[in-house]
Amino acid sequence: MQASSKIPTDVSYLEYKGKHKGLLSWILSTDHKRIGLLYMYSMMTLFLIGVVLGLAMKFELIAPGKTIMEAKDYNAVFTVHGVIMIFMIVVPGLPAVFGNFLLPIMIGAKDVAFPKLNLASWYVYIAGAFLVIASVLFGDGSPDTGWTFYAPYSFKTGTNMLPAIFGAFVLGFSSILTGLNFIVTIHRLRAPGMTWTKMPLFPWTLYGTAWIQLLATPIVGITLVLVSLERIFGIGVFDPALGGDPILYQHLFWIYSHPAVYIMILPAMGAISEIIPTFSQKHVFGYKAIVASTLAIAFVGYFVWGHHMFTSGMSGTAQYTFSILTFLVAIPSAIKVFNWISTMYKGSINVQTPFYWAVSFIFVFMIGGLSGLVLGALATNVYVHDTAFVVAHFHFIVFGGVGFAFFGAIHYWFPKMFGRMYDSTWANAGWLIFTIGFLTLYSPMFYLGMQGMPRRYYDYLEEFHAANILSTMGSWVMTLGLVIILINLFRSAKSGAIAPKDPWNGKTLEWTVPSPPPVENYEEIPVYGEKDGPYEYK
């Protein structure tokens, strides 16, 4: 930590005037809070691009045949949509934005362990994002492999794959560096007296996630390098024509990309584990069980990647082993849901926007998770694998899970981040419209998948038409909700009512510092006594 006595403690991080002015004071700042916001603004921009691509796909699918684009464009659109949403939004998502902003404050530190490295991670992130965007705009055709880059198609196609693959590779480094930084921060910088079992749940999930980022991301890195070498030099690792094995590619890809799902969802669960106790005004139910389930998910999550490959060609033993492990990893998630709901029991529930998001998170997450059981069982997996059912499932988990948690978190911590309150009427209206749109958009895809409609489908037979119309209309409603939410947040950040230090009567440490916090958060590092803890309501 660079504790310097010159930094004033009565000026918020937003108003603080350091060496630089204007934009430079942001893009050269090593303050974890400013870096958190940098990530947030970059991600918002990329997310909106991803949303527009998603809308374009849904519009294309409103009727069979060509509606607005050619097959070639559609294939490029779902690829870029997937790459942006996965590698740039949901994987870095909550850790980069809320982890950066809140982790040090929640554990009573002045910054993360390596503030400069933290800023460097953001630059790496931006570099990766630019590479991917460049692959779309320049060269001979946008990448069209899907975000999974499956061999051998990914080195057969004539499109601009290399920059896209390299972009994903670079984004991985940003993830690794953030993970490393968080692990060290959590080990070294917790406030005196904050033992492991007194650490709030959101930092706990960041900790689990950071380990996955650190250990799993290098695997996808090397895999992407191998694909590039295969494309340039034909080294024959994955190319069957040269004696390579395309299934090996899938193993390597999913060894990372399955745990990546937990990189995404754990911090989302962490945010929900903060929101529910605060708005129930009650100690979280089963703190230790929630922590244990976090670690169990992070650990068992490494061993289930094969469930993406039940039809690819694995031995029978491998198949049922992966199936049973997949079922086991569902249990810690179920435990979390039970504990969240029990936290509400006999609480004194203050139903505010973040609470609506949390409850709807639990609802859509249950749908996502339960549909995952259909995918985990062998017989049913074979039937719905690579159909619209899978598309529905992962949008419920990654968008429903991470997205709803993100919106819950942003409303929850908004007063802390900007020092102002959001307008709650508009926020609730946005939530309601968004949720209705979300369910209308994705639920029909479950039905389509059970009807047998394959995924990554530019065109389809007439029998799939009706459900697609409904789904497309849902995408419009959801977008309306999204626009309302974002406009409301932007307006409130400028002109909302001034927020007090602790608007929700929360008990974690971030509610003990001013809103917005000063540059180094604490004048004096807080100390946890024997009786203190993150959820100690009286």
């Binding site: 097959a71 294939n75 069209d144 499956y150 051998p152 198609y153 057969k156 196609t157 004539g158 069957p240 024509a241 395309p246 299934i247 129930s280 005004q281 009650k282 100690h283 089963g286 703190y287 230790k288 069980a289 690819s312 198949q319 199936s323 049973i324 079922f327 086991l328 569902a330 249990i331 179920a334 435990i335 039970f338 709901i341 029990s342 509400m344 006999k346 609480g347 004194s348 529930i349 203050n350 409850v359 249950m366 749908i367 339960l370 059981l373 259909v374 985990g376 069982a377 062998l378 017989a379 074979v382 039937y383 690579d386 159909t387 059970m450 009807q451 047998g452 995924r455 065109d459 037979l461």
Partner: protein, 314 residues
């Protein structure tokens, strides 16, 4: 919708649908029950009615209960999933075998007696084993009505099997994304009573007859449509994955041969080479490796018929 349909199109339907129904029933039960409890708590313990929370930090008994019960339930679900899937792994000895040749972007079905079709004709009530071959990238054979799916991986010998139990026509989709025309890569499955199938199978006169009446040009066009050349090559001059056939024959083409650029005359020789050894000469501006050899899939006569047709595309 196929699931819950009462007709049993194949021998796997009952096993798969049973797993489906059991899993869905458990899922719906939990979804509805937990959502109801959540909403009930939101009203019952709303701060207006319940201004002071009762602090409860947890309960070990409950944690054990809600770990053990879901564990038992998931094991049950696993079991039914496994039971419905197990028989798919081993094809009976006496299965009727058909080879599926997959390439971008069509499937062709090759029978032991040399017959080749683009619709999968199969006998009813007899195990059918499909040997899956891919010439280029990964595809996946999916027949929803039969509840079967298996990826077709280049370089490995894979299979799938089933016994069709009802006459009828069903869809067969490619479900592994394989490039530009992936969504057009579907065919039909026609299930016929065993006798009718046998007549069809042994009746080669039909094929011969049509081949005799047809002019070579018409035959060329039919072959190219069936085997899927037109997915990559247009007839009207527009650029698809490969160069257009319009005005190709008799003109010069600029190609790269082993790194060197040269111009060649498009004649019979060149077209034959393009079909059987497409990577020998790569047309300028196009990519290597997309078109793969049709060696063993097209006979000399068929190629000649294709050439006749190409000559007409001025």
């Amino acid at each position: 919708m196929y699931i819950l349909a009462s007709t049993q199109a194949s021998n796997f339907v009952s096993g798969v649908d049973k797993a489906f129904i059991i899993i869905l029933a458990i899922c719906f039960f939990f979804l509805i029950a937990l959502t109801a409890v959540m909403i009930y708590f939101m009203f019952k313990y709303n701060k207006k009615k319940h201004p002071k929370a009762t602090q409860i930090k947890g309960s070990n008994t409950l944690e054990v209960v809600w770990t053990v019960i879901p564990t038992i339930l998931v094991l049950i679900m696993f079991y039914y999933g496994w039971a419905g899937w197990k028989p798919m792994r081993e094809a009976p000895e006496d299965s009727f075998e058909i080879t599926v040749n997959s390439r971008m972007w069509n499937f062709t079905f090759q029978y032991d007696n040399g017959r080749r079709t683009d619709t999968l004709f199969i006998p009813k009530d007899r195990p059918v084993k499909l040997n899956l071959r891919s010439m280029d990238v990964i595809h996946s054979v999916y027949i929803p009505a039969f509840r079967v799916k298996e990826d077709v991986v280049p370089g490995s010998d894979k299979f799938m099997w089933f016994t069709a139990q009802n006459e009828g026509i069903y869809e067969l989709f490619c479900t592994e994304y394989c490039g530009l025309q992936h969504s057009y890569m579907y065919n039909w499955v026609k299930v016929m009573p065993e006798e009718e199938f046998n007549t069809w199978y042994t009746d080669t006169t039909q094929q011969l007859a049509s081949a005799q009446v047809e002019s070579p040009t018409a035959a060329g066009k039919r072959i190219m449509t069936n085997i899927g050349c037109l997915a990559c090559h247009s007839l009207d001059g527009s650029r698809l994955v490969g160069p257009s056939f319009k005005g190709l024959y008799g003109h010069e083409a600029t190609v790269k041969t082993g790194g060197e650029t040269r111009t060649v005359m498009v004649d019979d020789e060149y077209i034959k080479r393009s079909i059987f050894d497409p990577n020998a000469d790569i047309v300028e501006g196009f990519n290597k490796g997309l078109m793969v050899s049709y060696e063993g899939q097209l006979t000399e006569t068929e190629v000649e018929q294709i050439i006749e047709y190409l000559k007409t595309l001025k």
